[in-house]
């Protein structure tokens, strides 16, 4: 793993105005790094600000203060034109497989979008790339002519992943990519993401509320609580030996699919919750 | 709630200014001006010029408007060059008629419109279709045509109600009421339909929402679910439409007052336009705009009262 991080977030603060002078502090000074080829899992519950981090990196939300540095370039205040070029390096997979594809356009049309800005590609090149990437994500070749409405949630998410990787980006922000999928399909999508990352050398920011899912795909884990980082480190370390009371509470709260073990864990959760209440 | 009041009054100032300025400018563009109309064909050039200066027509347009506005704020709306009476003295007695019609339309379209809309939403099948057909009448026929049909049926044929003319309340309350029935219904037909349609759409939308299912699951009687919970939530979009509908009703009164020969502001507006009586038309516009402000205010306050999210913020 490279020494220089691909993405650096330095002391990021994001405030949202709520009318009448009130301000909601979504992020209160968050710093993290992502190295090339590395997956960083960002875990938190609602109100933690995890989605906001992703949105700032993607340029969808403005930072109030702090820096986002991509490949040693400060992109915090990047212009619209610069953001358009960045679209080839930084891509996204959203949570909702139904809303992230335009139902009125064919899959091929949607997949072509990230390539439109690249003037060096001819229409034939683009078609070629679309076929390649569809094969890569395990979808049949005639997918490009069909409409999203003809596919299931899991299949649509594969298409969304295809759109994310077609321009060969270096960093993908995955915002809860499997939370809206059935359990039987989650494993397939997670496997796909992992496999693509390894073969393409992608860096990933994997945002989720589910610590266990994050554990599977991440090299390092960052735990976010109410706009601030409470713990970060090697994924195995954070998961097996959590230090902060919130991380412990989070781990204890997640029910384990084994009734006998779960029964014991209930008391653990009670203790963890009381410890958290005392600490905050 | 006071905030809502204040906000709406603030927003109304530009409205009044724009409307009166617009009519002022348009009127000033009319071929031939006031002086010419007063003098007629056989005035001399010197008389014409003198009259222009006397009437202030030689000053720039903006100044003329501002002087009109200044006087209007003090209650003086000028003198109609056509009838030589003061504009306010022409308008004030007519204000009552138009207001009565508008209030009547409001009452009728709210009561009938809501009931029809709810009935149409809840009872599909032939009841719904019958209501749709009835509502259609209000939508597709012009109000003045409906007025004529109503006159033909109720006044000429059945002789239950008067065809034209207005009786003041002080003379005979009974005849006053009778003389308003047909005009109010002629204007209201369109409004009833709009309200019924909006109510139906809103009810259908609300009835599909989760909390309706949850309330039923609690064992709440169906009448409570519909009349208390669903209607209350459906009222919000209906109220916003109500404002627009009432503003549309103002246009309706212009026609209907003509057909029924009622001494209201609407009929006066038409005569003023035909006679190019600028100041009178200005005055009428001002009065109607103030009426619009009152309508918007009532809508805002009602919406604020109905919607807790607005009321508490």
């Amino acid at each position: 793993m490279n020494a220089t991080p691909l993405l650096q977030v330095k002391d990021l603060r994001v405030d949202f105005a709520q009318g009448k002078g009130k301000v909601f502090q979504a992020l209160k000074g968050v710093s993290l790094n992502i190295h090339p080829g590395e997956t960083v899992g960002l875990v938190g519950e609602s109100g933690s600000g995890k989605t906001t981090v992703g949105r700032v990196i993607l340029g969808l939300t403005e930072a109030t203060s702090g820096q986002v540095i991509f490949d040693e370039e400060d992109i915090t205040q990047a212009s619209r034109a610069r953001r358009r070029d960045l679209g080839r390096d930084i891509q996204v997979v959203f949570q909702d497989p139904y809303g992230s594809l335009n139902p009125a356009r064919t899959v091929g049309d949607t997949l072509a979008e990230p390539l439109l800005g690249d003037k060096s590609l001819s229409p034939t090149d683009i078609q070629q790339r679309i076929s390649e990437v569809l094969q890569r994500v395990g979808m049949p070749t005639d997918t490009a002519q069909r409409y999203p409405g003809q596919f299931s949630g899991g299949q649509r998410q594969r298409i969304a992943i295809a759109r994310a990787v077609i321009a060969k980006p270096r960093l993908i922000v995955c915002d809860e990519p499997v939370s809206a999928l059935d359990l039987s399909v989650q494993a397939q999508v997670l496997n796909l993401l992992k496999e693509l990352q390894e073969s393409m050398g992608l860096a990933m920011l994997f945002i989720s509320h589910d610590l266990t899912v994050v554990r599977h795909v991440s090299h390092r884990t960052v735990v976010l609580y109410r706009g601030g980082i409470v713990e970060q480190g090697d994924a195995a370390q954070v998961h097996e030996h959590p230090q902060h009371p919130y991380t412990r509470a989070l781990l204890a709260a997640a029910p384990v699919p084994d009734p006998l073990i779960q029964r014991e864990r209930r008391t653990q959760f009670e203790q963890a919750r009381q410890a958290l209440a005392a600490a905050t | 709630m006071l905030k809502i009041l204040f906000h709406r009054l603030l927003m109304s100032v530009p409205l009044v200014v724009v409307v009166t300025l617009l009519t002022f400018v348009l009127n000033s563009l009319a071929p031939g001006d006031m002086a010419m109309t007063i003098l007629g064909a056989d005035g001399t050039r010197e008389q014409y010029e003198a009259l222009r200066i006397e009437l202030g027509l030689d000053k720039p347009l903006m100044l003329q408007y501002l002087s009109w506005l200044g006087q209007a704020l003090q209650g003086d709306l000028g003198v109609s060059h056509f009838t030589k009476e003061s504009v306010s003295s022409l308008l004030n007695p007519r204000l009552g008629v138009s207001v009565f019609i508008m209030v009547g339309v409001l009452v009728v379209c709210l009561s009938l419109g809501l009931v029809l809309g709810v009935a149409s939403a809840l009872k599909g099948g032939w009841v719904g279709r019958a209501i749709d057909a009835f509502s259609l009448v209000g939508l597709i026929f012009p109000s003045f045509w409906l007025a004529l049909v109503l006159i033909s049926v109720f006044a000429v044929t059945l002789r239950w109600l008067p065809a034209t003319g207005y009786v003041f309340f002080s003379e005979s309350p009974k005849d006053w009421a009778l003389s308003l029935v047909l005009p109010i219904f002629s204007v209201a037909m369109y409004s009833i339909t709009s309200i019924a349609k909006q109510t139906r759409d809103a009810m259908n939308d609300v009835m599909g929402r989760d909390f309706i299912r949850a309330l039923r699951a609690c064992g709440l009687p169906e009448r409570s679910v519909i009349w208390k919970h669903a209607l209350r939530n459906a009222a919000l979009p209906v109220v916003t439409v109500l404002g627009l509908v009432m503003i549309g009703a103002i246009s309706g009164t212009v026609f209907v007052e003509r057909v029924f020969v009622l001494p209201g502001m609407g009929s006066l507006a038409v005569s003023a336009a035909l006679n190019k009586d600028i100041l009178l038309l200005q005055g009428v516009t001002l009065y109607f705009t103030l009426m619009t402000v009152a309508i918007n205010l009532m809508v805002d306050l009602s919406y604020g009262w109905l919607n807790p999210k607005v009321r508490l913020s």
């Binding site: 003809q150 759109r163 029910p255 | 617009l22 699951a217 939530n233």
Partner: protein, 584 residues
């Protein structure tokens, strides 16, 4: 992996399949033809007065009769078409172009421009239309064009409002964000994504506005403005009809009729366009009221069983075809026991629970099935009986806690409503409200009771939902994915709450979920549903440790929570292949 082979018929074909739309289009087409060929279609001169044939009813010579001056009514009507059509076109073009540009730009770009446009729209919509028209007509008395252009400008406000909200809805979609991230410019996004979505609403608005334009235009000519006399117009015909009201009311019919037909056509066209573009594919099912078979006798049931469901089948009808959503579901439930119904989306688990309440969505109904509750046998298609059971016997909590509360009433009010169904006096009701809120462990219950739903969090809203369900002291509680929409820490608390309540009140709980962890936490027994059928039903310990059905085994194995970190996650297809040795 098969994709649905599903290509809907084109928009035009669907539109032409609606008889009313076709009629409307035909009438409008007829008008258009008449407007350009009036002298051909109505050869009698509209101005010619036949003083020997005044006020005549329709005859072979005069198809629609004659008016007070002996002029042929039909001819006057046909010659008036072009004026109406011209006026409508003028107004609609102005309203659409202006409305489109204002609405789309305001909706897409937002910010200061959006606020300005909204103020402008608000102002214009408050203008008294006829008065402005009168002012315009005072200036340009004999010309229709300026008046119709003014009407168009005023109408553009309403049009832009509608288009703005459609644009806003599109702008919020995730695929717009994805397009922006992929580097598309605003112009590209508007052309690719916004305009196609806008096309439908624009045409609908144009249609509806055309209907209004016809009426206004008729009104103007009714007042004697806009057109130089003695040219025949529909409005002037109505005016002439008013003059002959006493002795010849017939004139009202053709003059009003032609206006009404035209307005109706525009309106129908607009409605049909709107319905065609948003219609779903199944028509609402006709309720079939099938009598469910009595599949069990109460005395056959084991001891202590509170609820028993037998042979429950649920179908949905669309036209001729019926689709089975749930087939032959059976289960028993004892007091104080929690049963989990586990399955993925489309397994029918939610429908099974809703069938007990008689709250199936429209178009879906029970085709067979009985429930036995405390010894009483109930036919599940007997909605009346099921309605009586709601609240006091069977309670329910739902997946979206905030959406399950009426936003217009306070928490306390909604709780009190349900409590009052049991005849408590006013003072007691208030106390019971607080007591219920305390039972679901809500802090500061007096304060919360005064709040509105939008002022509390999701977790608290679900506690309120539980409190409301408990208010009637039900013996059975149905919980439809009650924690899916909540954070995991909140979920743990809610599950703990449900557990303690079920024990303290000896309530039987049916918990519908897709989350195996939840099943492991709170359920005593569970059954696995797939495509509407029960695959397996057992105690929780047996189900997790000794699953029998291959599908259950595969699901459990594919759960990321059970897998070893670092390894490739086993997927359902893989596992089914391993176990059964054949393709899934």
């Amino acid at each position: 992996m098969s994709a649905l082979a599903y290509n809907p018929p084109s928009f035009i074909r669907r539109l032409l399949g609606r008889p009313l739309a076709v009629l409307a289009l035909l009438w409008l087409l007829l008008l258009f033809v008449l407007s350009v060929s009036a002298p051909l279609c109505a050869p009698i001169d509209p101005l010619e007065q036949d003083l020997l044939a005044l006020k005549q009813l329709p005859s072979a010579e005069h198809w629609l009769g004659t008016d007070a001056l002996g002029r042929d009514v039909f001819s006057r009507m046909v010659h008036g078409v072009s004026i109406t059509i011209a006026g409508v076109i003028e107004a609609v073009v102005v309203a659409s172009l202006l409305g489109l540009s204002l609405g789309v730009s305001a909706g897409y770009f937002g910010g200061m421009w959006d606020r300005c446009v909204q103020q402008y729209v608000s102002l214009v919509q408050s203008l008294p239309t006829m008065l402005i028209m009168l002012a315009v007509l005072a200036v340009f008395g004999q010309a229709m064009l300026p008046a119709m252009v003014t009407l168009g400008v005023m109408g553009s406000a309403g049009v832009s409002r509608v288009l703005r909200s459609v644009t806003l809805a599109v702008r919020e979609e995730l695929y717009i964000a994805a397009a922006r991230i992929s580097g598309l410019s605003d112009a590209q996004i508007i052309v690719r994504h916004v305009l196609p979505r806008i096309a439908g609403p624009v045409i609908v608005q144009m249609s509806l506005f055309a209907a209004i334009a016809v009426i206004v235009q008729t009104g103007i000519s009714f007042l004697g403005l806009g057109v130089a006399p003695p040219a025949p117009t529909w409005g002037s015909m109505i005016f002439e009809a008013s003059a002959s009201l006493n002795d010849f009311p017939w004139l009202l019919v053709p003059s009003g009729g032609v206006v009404a037909l035209t307005v109706l056509s525009f309106g129908l066209l607009g409605d049909s366009l709107r319905d065609t573009s948003t219609e779903s594919w199944s028509r609402p099912a006709v309720r079939q009221g099938v009598k469910a078979r009595l599949a069990v006798k109460p005395q056959d049931l084991p001891e202590g069983v509170l609820l028993s469901m037998r042979d429950v089948s649920i179908v949905t009808s669309s036209g001729q075809t019926q689709r089975t959503l749930v087939k032959g579901v059976n289960f028993d439930l004892k007091q104080g026991e929690t049963l989990g119904i586990v399955g993925e989306s489309g397994s029918g688990k939610t429908l099974t629970s809703l069938s007990l309440m008689g709250l199936l969505p429209p178009g879906v109904h029970v085709s067979a099935g009985t429930a036995v509750i405390q010894g009483e046998v109930i036919d599940l298609s007997n909605e009346k009986r099921l309605t009586q059971l709601r609240g006091a016997t069977v309670g329910m909590i739902f997946q979206e806690p905030m959406a399950a509360l009426d936003p217009c009433f306070t928490i306390g009010h909604q709780l009190a409503e349900v409590i009052r169904l049991h005849g408590l006096r006013a003072a007691q009701v208030q106390a019971k409200v607080i007591e219920l809120l305390e039972q679901v462990k809500i802090p500061n219950p007096q304060d919360v009771a005064q709040r509105y739903p939008h002022q509390i969090s999701g977790g608290m809203a679900q506690r309120v939902g539980i409190a409301r369900a408990l208010a009637s002291e039900p013996k059975i509680l149905l919980a439809d994915e009650p924690t899916t929409a909540l954070d995991v820490t909140v979920q743990a608390e809610i599950l703990a709450l449900l557990r303690s309540l079920s024990q303290s009140r000896q309530m039987a709980v049916v918990l519908v979920t897709h989350d195996w962890g939840v099943v492991a936490d709170i359920c005593d027994r569970a059954m696995v549903l797939r495509h509407g059928q029960v695959l397996e039903s057992a105690t929780v310990v047996d189900l997790f440790h000794r699953p029998q059905h291959p599908y259950t085994q595969a699901l459990l194995a594919a759960n990321p929570h059970s897998a070893q970190p670092g390894e490739v996650l086993p997927t359902v297809d893989d596992k089914l292949m391993d176990i059964t040795g054949a393709a899934a």
